[in-house]
Amino acid sequence: MTITTNPVVEREGRGQRLRAASVPYLLLLPAILALAAVSLYPTLDGLRASLHRFRYGLDMGFTGGDNFTAVYNDPVFWQAIVTTALYVILVVLIETLLGLLLALLVARELRFAGLIRVALILPMTIAPVVVGVIWRLLYASDIGVVDPLFQALGLGAPHVLAHPLSAFLGLVTVDVWEWTPLLFLIILAGLQSIPQDPIEAARVDGASGLQTFFHHTLPLLRPVLLVAVVLRTIDAVGTFDQIFVLTKGGPGTSTQLISIYAYNTAFLFNQYGRAMAMLIGVLAVLIILMMAAVRLMRRTSEAIE
């Protein structure tokens, strides 16, 4: 006996399966469109603008790679890149170490751990512009508290925002104060999710606290640390609000990150195309770094498994 199938029924079945398979995509479509509108479209338009010349607020037409050439030959751009790199390396390093330390402290069943947790994450909840205003008042050499504090300790008023090095370190301090809580939360969540058996076994075998940490806890925490570092790096590269409020890139160009320089180039100097060329270049480098970081994360996860 041969089994025959009705083509109509078959077609209807395929249609039903197609409809069922497309439902998730249809449900995702509004979110994808919204994301494309606020993320993909501006990026593509920025790319288009980087190939155009702008003058008197008007688009003067296609200019090829002139903007990229101008940016490449701009010493202030490279200075901003170096400043940004130094800033990012410093803040991410300090915040990761501090975040890890705080997470290890809070992960223990300490009294008032909950209260400590809340207090630690408070800076993160304040808007970056407000953070900038607060620290501007703290650092101000005429009405701030930092100068009198240093003087009371017999150290001499630092005038934080008046000198290139102290202004740079002052900004690093602000960033560390504000964003260490984020690293702390991510790492704490990681600590609480890693398997405890290998750690317990190491302790039973007589490993010291430090040995347990370096040989067991840290390797298990590596993927979480990588995620935290990657997220914070992306964020730190785009730091703008605090710097705009505190120093506007000064004294000189000592705190002029690429975000500030690109902003000034686009909106103060009316060189919109050139600003886009700068940012497209930075975006390209960031994408490469992120891809390398993701590959590293995958390898690390596989190794642990």
């Binding site: 008197y56 607020g57 005038h159 008046a162 000198h163 009316n270």
Partner: protein, 454 residues
């Protein structure tokens, strides 16, 4: 008594009468002339036509404008006025986008004068000449010229070398730098930088400072430096666009600023308007240069500890006095829905009668000569003649859309030079020359890259 004496007495009396008669005749003739010119014409009253929307950046100087004068215009003409303001940077972007896209959200943009080249060349605003605006001849020429594009004098971009200047923007507030000095330290108004320096030398920090600049990089320190540079005979740019600040005049001006370092607060490299103004209002600074806004606060007991002690004068001179001018200036948007209403408002606000009101009621930096020199206004607001003097001697910044970049380059160099000079406390000429030369090279390279200058 001889007849001669009597005759002499009568003759004298006659002469006095004749002089009085002559005076009356002359006065009548003069009044007729002025009345004929229309500068004291009553405010324009026309039939009501719709409404206008004015946008501006936030500034204390604009408070009388929107609190009183916008409403007064409605009362007198029936044209409703909607007024919106936001912070400076946001407003710049808002009005630029509105003008480029001809959205028509605004009829009038209140602008900073250095926006004029870009907004006029980019047709973001309309030509007031072509809209038929009648300019009040009483407006001080230096302020009026800020609204012309291309500029009437000074360096011109090649693209506009042969174009006839048109009025694109009308000055509404003659904001200009003036000297503020504490009368306890200066029995008479200081005239030269030496006068300032001689008093500064006698001050003792931190109880009293002899000078306070705005030291932050960019526009703030530029506003401190430009009156010095202009007074020494230098220029931001020469008529051929070459920088005019890297020679002996520019170096001399910057060294002069550095000479005040022992008498300035230590943290001046981070000082902006609020900090230097605070020093003055606390009575801790003998003199400084600032824009006209400070004048409104010096006698306000809620913020000033030196009520009645701060006086104003033209910025000090070396070769000449050369304050920087930075007017509040208003244009009709390219997409304005009611351009004629906008023109009517601008004519009304800059009329001699309205400006007199502005000066008398609020001590505002009026744009007309008659208002700034009005005896009643001057008696109430002693800074007005200083403003008139400053406007007439003012030096405008380069008229080009690239001016902000040039200002940033030189402003950054000045800030770096100041930081170095504060650290070294010596070798001022060398420090000044090094940084000014570097800035001059950068500006020249930038202008060459932009094209249209050399």
């Amino acid at each position: 008594m001889s007849d001669k004496t009597k005759d002499t007495g009568k003759s004298k009396l006659l002469k006095r009468r004749m002089r009085r008669r002559d005076f009356i005749k002359a006065g009548a003739a003069g009044t007729a002339l002025l009345a004929g010119s229309g500068i004291f014409a009553p405010r324009i009253v026309r039939a009501a036509t719709g409404s206008i929307t004015i946008g501006s950046f936030q500034d204390n100087a604009m408070v009388p404008f929107h609190e009183y004068f916008c409403k007064q215009f409605t009362v007198e003409t029936g044209i409703a006025v909607n007024y919106n303001e936001t912070n400076y940077d946001t407003w710049y972007q808002n009005c630029k986008n509105d003008g480029l896209n001809k959205t028509g959200a605004y009829d009038i943009y209140v602008m900073d004068d250095n926006w004029v080249p870009e907004f006029a060349a980019g047709k973001i605003v309309q030509s007031l000449d072509q809209l038929g605006l009648k300019v009040n001849p009483d407006i001080l020429p230096a302020g009026l010229e800020m609204g012309l594009w291309p500029p009437k004098s000074g360096a011109r971009m090649k693209d506009f070398a042969n174009a006839t200047p048109e009025l694109y923007s009308l000055v509404i507030i003659d904001d200009v730098e003036i000297l503020y000095y504490n009368k306890d330290f200066f029995p008479t108004a200081p005239v030269t930088w030496d006068d300032i320096y001689n008093v500064a030398k006698a001050t003792k920090a931190p109880d009293m400072y002899g000078w306070s600049p705005r030291g932050v990089k960019g526009n703030p320190i530029m506003m401190t430096y430009l009156p010095l540079l202009n007074s020494y005979g230098g220029n931001f740019v020469n008529p051929d666009w070459t920088p005019g600040f890297a020679g002996p005049e520019g170096v001399g001006a910057l060294s002069r600023l550095f000479s005040f370092i022992p008498y300035m607060p230590d943290g001046v490299a981070e000082y902006d308007t609020d900090q230097e103004v605070q020093l003055m209002l606390e009575g801790k600074c003998t003199a400084l240069t600032e824009y006209t806004g400070l004048a409104q606060r010096v006698d306000d007991p809620s913020s000033s500890k030196v009520v009645g002690k701060i006086y104003m004068a033209a910025t000090p001179k070396q070769v000449k006095s050369g304050p920087a001018i930075g007017t509040f200036i208003a244009s009709v948007a390219s997409g304005a829905k009611n351009p004629q209403g906008a023109v009517q408002f601008l004519e009304w606000f800059t009329s001699s009668a309205t400006q007199l009101d502005f000066a008398r009621k609020y001590g505002g930096a009026a744009v007309t000569g008659s208002a700034l020199n009005d005896p009643e206004a001057v008696q109430k607001h002693r800074w007005l003649p200083a403003i008139a003097d400053a406007v007439n001697n003012s030096v405008e910044k380069p008229r080009t859309p690239d001016e902000p970049k040039m200002e940033d380059i030189l402003g950054t160099a000045l800030n770096e030079a100041l930081v170095e000079a504060i650290a070294q406390k010596s070798n001022y000429d060398a420090i000044a020359q090094k940084h000014l030369s570097a800035a001059a090279d950068q500006i020249t390279a930038y202008l060459k890259q932009q094209g249209g200058y050399f």
